[in-house]
Amino acid sequence: MGEPEAGGGEAPGRGHALAMDTLATLILIFVGAALINNFVLHYFVGICPFLGVSRRVDTAFGMGCAVTFVISIAALLNWTFTYFVLRPGAPLPAWVWAAAGGDPATQVDLSVLSYIIYIFVIASSVQLVEMYVRKFFPPLYRSFGVYLPLITTNCAILFACLEIMKHMQDPTKVWGLHEALALAVGGGIGFTLAISLMAGIREELDLCEVPRPLKGAGIALIVAGIMAMAFMGFTGVDKGVHAALSALLR
């Protein structure tokens, strides 16, 4: 990275190119998680708050912010666990195995513990965050503290951790922390976007005459279906983003 750029950027150094490459990857991961493969509308995770907390825009936005925050923290902690303990070929089990005098050709695989550890870490960190915010940021706690306990059982958080885990299974392509965080933040922002839009639509929907059987969850799901169709329009956007980025960075 420290290499000077020669010839007015005509031939950027290899370090520079690598950094730009990483940046492009991060942007693509982010855009992918937020828009193209939106957590709610493409992967169907976080449906419960999406239907339950989307009656008013301000509460929906609060929920979205809380999710984005918790998802980032969970991704940070769980990436650390996955990297050092859970992934195939992780340092901790390898070290213990070597200390026990095991055969170096085989490995101890702790990936079976992933789910239990993820959910444990999510539940505990949500509780910690709740206590911390309540102590030091009482106004913040009053505005979004009520959502925190609901988030433990929000599948979007666990889903983000699982997606990150998926990218750490192959020892040749292990995601770094920056990639994990790009996915988590992107997913959280995508969730916020979807739930806020949904709340906006539902506020207007209150003034419409909806057939009685469809009132409530029925019409909300149909609206979600139409939103999902709209979000399908984002498929392929990453091609353009990629092209734009590579043109920009070249």
Binding site: F44, I47, V112, I116, I119, F120, A228, M229
Partner: protein
Amino acid sequence: MPSDQPTALERFINGILPENPIYRQLLGMCPVLAVTNGMKPAMTMAAATAFVLICANVMVSLIRGLLKPHLRILVFTLTIATFVTIADRLLAAYVYDMSKQLGPYVPLIIVNCIIISRCEICASKQGAGVAIADAFGMSLGFALALASIATVREILGSGTWLGLPVLPAGWPGWGIMVLPPGAFLTLGLLLGMAEWASQRRAAVKRQGGGTR
């Protein structure tokens, strides 16, 4: 055990229709939307959920005397996560295709509200026998709901049911039905139909009472 708790039979029957987890309680919507583009994944999902629900219910029911109120949810979560992992590994070992297709939705059973709410409502208060009956009823109700949605989506989307062709070969599969929007639309309309039926039944009952 307080005597006003429902019996095993009531628990079982309640789970299937009167308290159907999807249509009545609107719980566990993620898998309902995500894996119902075909009958096969839907049924695999229902089986995995049933396995976890039954095991977790029994386990929680057995240790219910030791639970501390404020740590109870944590214990439920740990138990559920363990059985989900076991289910996940069993799927990967014996039905690898399905395991690959279901992907992250198997581990997401952990945060399926159906299971934790059954642990909370039934298993932590009643004996193992009732807990098993309850788990079977709920699983059956869940499976029925998944099957109904998957049937609509697979037949309209691909013209097949459980992979067997049911519509003429010229059927132009409605691509939208197997895509995410189809899931939302199908569930929304089916919910509306269920609601309509129950409203009608209530109206008929009211009318019947009036004329008598």
